[in-house]
């Protein structure tokens, strides 16, 4: 396949002498830098200065406890931030910030890096003034304060949330460089709250006639989405907790809906109202947006499920491998229909596949971390991952998706992602057939 893959240079970069040296070279290989490296080589004859010369942190007094009442990441980790995709939207209050999947470990998204999507800006709502109203086809319309809700029997469950438009920029062609922008409208947290079924029972919801529940946010957009009653009575949570602390304001503080397996727009933030009804509502986010355009010009309405999907997060687009040899290829897999059963990884663009290791826990409708060893021989390669869920559904290739749904759907692109590793170690986003 080497001959079939077009790569930019074809030259294998000499393996760097050490990793710090390589970084320096890759950024600015000037005459001065070369001289500096030569000097460093001489000094290194005796050993690594990082070992031979004791640093201040080994020879001085460190910081006291509670220097920071709310701990922050290391200064050296500040590159990992959620970021907007330039040119995607023009109003930052109705935009999205992508999670830096390229640098995350395991399955839990740190709260400060959870992706953001707002429709009319976010607010930090006083929880003492927040109310939840449940009405419609119920025995009694009821009001709950946060005090009320937090007295109810609660559950804590780990679930992924993915925007329906995640990977939406890639339906027609490669559009963005890194996994942060191809797949970063994805996060996974442990959510704590009361099952919606308990609240509906408490209000005496007529679940025979009332086949739908409308959820509404308290923000300016008053975002509304319809949820089927079967879903509402299954595993939906009215949640206040997120990874052991309260929800972040950007994620709906103090109350949001958690609708496992379903696209993020239904996880209504700043939740203020639930109405039980006998028909779906056809709100703006159900008739004008979050509808999937099919080749015949029809829009699929209420396309809600996030089907089985996976992506390799390291190595991934915009990164460069340090040198030949051992790598831990790692990524995430998930399914809105249940558990991930298996993840396969290909290093030759989908010709041959190997089963990856799934790390525990493997939970329904949650991110699952996979790992597989790879020895890079310095030649070009195309890395792909393919997830299979416990319904037997196999993550499709982009061509298979396009054959049914065309290229203009925007939403629900769960295609296999391809990362081209060039002979110089550079990884880039490509599509293959």
């Amino acid at each position: 396949m080497k001959n079939k893959v077009s790569i930019q240079s074809g030259q294998v970069r000499p393996a760097p002498e050490d990793r710090r040296g390589f970084l320096k070279k890759s950024l600015s290989l000037t005459g001065g830098a070369v001289a500096a490296l030569a000097g460093a080589s001489a000094a290194r004859a005796q050993g690594d200065p990082a070992i031979l010369k004791l640093p201040p942190h080994s020879t001085g007094l460190g910081q006291p406890v509670a220097a920071r009442g709310y701990g922050m990441p290391s200064e050296f980790e500040k590159n990992l931030q959620r970021r907007e995709s330039p040119g995607l939207t023009r109003a930052a209050q109705s935009s999205v910030a992508f999670a830096p999947l390229q640098g995350l470990f395991g399955i839990i998204t740190p709260n400060g890096l959870h992706f953001e999507r707002h429709h009319q800006g976010w607010w930090d709502i006083d929880p003492r003034q927040h109310r939840l109203m449940i009405h419609g086809l119920v025995r009694e319309s009821r009001i709950y304060t946060m005090d009320d809700l937090m007295r109810l029997p609660s559950v804590s469950r780990i679930h992924f949330i993915e925007c329906g438009a995640n990977t939406g920029m890639e339906w027609g062609n490669v559009a963005v460089p890194t996994v942060q922008y191809t797949h970063g409208m994805l996060s996974c947290c442990e959510f704590t709250g009361v099952p919606l079924s308990k609240l509906l029972e408490h209000c005496g919801a007529d679940t025979k006639k009332g086949r739908y529940v409308l959820a509404e946010g308290a923000d300016g957009s008053g975002l509304t989405r319809t949820i089927g009653m079967d879903r509402a009575l299954d595993d939906v949570i009215v949640a206040w907790g997120m990874n052991g602390e309260f929800l972040r304001p950007e994620n709906g503080y103090p109350l949001r809906l958690v609708v496992p397996g379903v696209q993020g727009v239904s996880w209504v933030k700043w939740l203020r109202r639930l109405e039980v009804g006998d028909k779906p509502w056809d709100t703006r986010e159900e008739t004008l947006h979050y509808i999937d355009l099919m080749p015949d010009g029809l829009h699929r309405q209420y396309s809600s499920v996030q089907e089985c999907k996976s992506v390799i997060t390291t190595p991934s687009g915009g990164q460069v491998l340090l040198n030949k040899g051992q790598y831990n290829v790692t990524g995430l897999a998930w399914s809105g229909r249940g558990r991930v059963r298996r993840v396969d990884v290909s290093f030759d663009g989908g010709r041959n596949w190997k089963e990856a290791r799934l790390e525990n826990p493997v939970l329904p409708k949650a991110l699952t971390r996979f790992n597989i060893d790879w020895v890079w021989n310095g030649g070009p390669a195309i890395l792909q991952s393919r997830a299979i869920d416990d319904t037997g559904y196999v993550q499709p290739k982009i061509a298979q998706l396009r054959a049914v749904r065309g290229t203009r759907s925007i939403y629900h692109n769960n295609a296999i992602q391809s990362w081209l590793v060039a002979a110089n170690g550079e990884v880039s986003n490509v599509q293959v057939e």
Partner: protein, 349 residues
């Protein structure tokens, strides 16, 4: 307490008190002391939704003419005078034909490459009314009266050639307008993606060995888009098995010819450009989302009024000189900073 226990309590009837207690337990409320009944006024205050079948639509009316006046005052800054603007949000109006209104399907939606305006997708009149009522204007949602929402809806419908200029929209004729919507038959729920137990429409197989033909790369990022998402070195960890690629080409090429964003900025104008977000769309030499600064400098070098012209452009945004992607306004920049930036851009070789 079960019914059986209840019956026993009745049979033995040791004491009236026990009997009463048992009866009370059978109707024990769920979660006592939690929540309270909503008052009718509270429900009315929040129950503002209008459903697809027009359930919840309040009485009222508004004319196209009244809607036009309201539109000019409250909506043009984002949507343009006729709802056609693409500056802030996708256009609301455009792309439909009289045939579409007759058929209830917008023909252009079946063609590739057509931009989709709101009116092209609009399949439920309730959606337009409900959304304007709950979320508009952008910076003052829920400030419009029902009559104002009818008027604005009427104005938009008129701009879409769905109702005549003399039209007065009201709760009485919303259903008639629904029957004229150009894409009223354009939605389908016939798919397996609503419920998590639905049936998938794409069925792939998991081949493991010698699968299919040799892979062929069909799409990759063009070189000029390399810097489209900023300096990737600033978006990757300092340690680990990988680093970020440089902006200019492959890792080795970028080392030989570092581009602006990869060098440490000491020029105050460049620091200002980075801080102000210019570099998200612009680069010194290469066209990214916006034009390269060198291109701008070449175009305006001989123009003595360029400085003022470009300062205004940066402050209020613009579109059309370098392509269709609009430049957003940077209204918060002080004149002094604007001047520094523009002079620096115009010096780019």
């Amino acid at each position: 307490m079960s019914r059986l226990n209840n019956a026993r309590a009745l049979v033995f009837a040791f004491a009236a008190g026990i009997c009463m207690q048992a009866a009370a337990q059978t109707t024990k409320p769920l979660y006592p002391g939690v929540g309270r009944a909503a008052t009718p006024a509270e429900v009315a205050a929040w129950d503002i939704d209008v459903r697809g079948d027009l359930m919840g639509l309040p009485p009222g009316s508004g004319s196209v003419a009244k809607g036009e006046a309201l539109w000019e005052a409250k909506c043009t800054s984002c949507h343009g005078s006729f709802g056609e603007s693409n500056q802030m949000f996708p256009p609301l109006i455009g792309g439909i034909t009289p045939e579409d209104i007759k058929n209830g399907r917008v023909a252009a939606l079946a063609k590739a490459g057509e931009q989709r305006s709101t009116v092209m997708k609009l399949s439920r009149i309730s959606t337009l009314w409900d959304y304007i009522n709950r979320a508009m204007p952008w910076n003052a949602p829920k400030s419009l009266s029902a009559d104002e929402v009818y008027a604005l809806t009427a104005y938009l419908l008129n701009q879409g050639n769905i109702v005549p200029e003399s039209f007065v929209l009201s709760d009485k004729n919303m259903a008639e307008v629904q029957a004229r919507l150009p894409n009223r038959n354009g939605l389908t729920r016939n798919h397996g993606l609503w419920d998590t137990r639905g049936r998938p429409d794409v069925n792939a197989k998991a081949c493991m060995k010698n699968c299919g033909p040799e892979p062929r790369i069909t799409s990759k990022l063009p070189d000029h888009a390399r810097g489209s998402h900023g300096d990737l070195a600033e978006q990757n960890r300092l340690i680990g098995p990988v680093r970020a690629v440089g902006l200019g080409g492959s890792a080795t090429v970028s080392a030989a010819a570092p581009v602006m964003a990869a060098t440490a900025s000491t020029d105050p104008a460049q620091v200002l450009a980075e801080k102000s977000g210019c570099m998200a769309c612009h680069n010194a030499k290469q066209r990214v989302i916006g034009p390269a600064f060198a291109e701008i400098a070449t175009k305006y070098r001989a123009d003595s009024g360029a400085e003022v012209k470009l300062m205004t452009k940066v402050k209020s945004g613009g579109q059309g000189v370098w392509g269709n992607v609009p430049m957003p306004p940077f209204a918060n920049l002080q004149d002094q900073d604007l001047r520094t930036l523009v002079r620096w851009i115009l010096k780019t070789e």
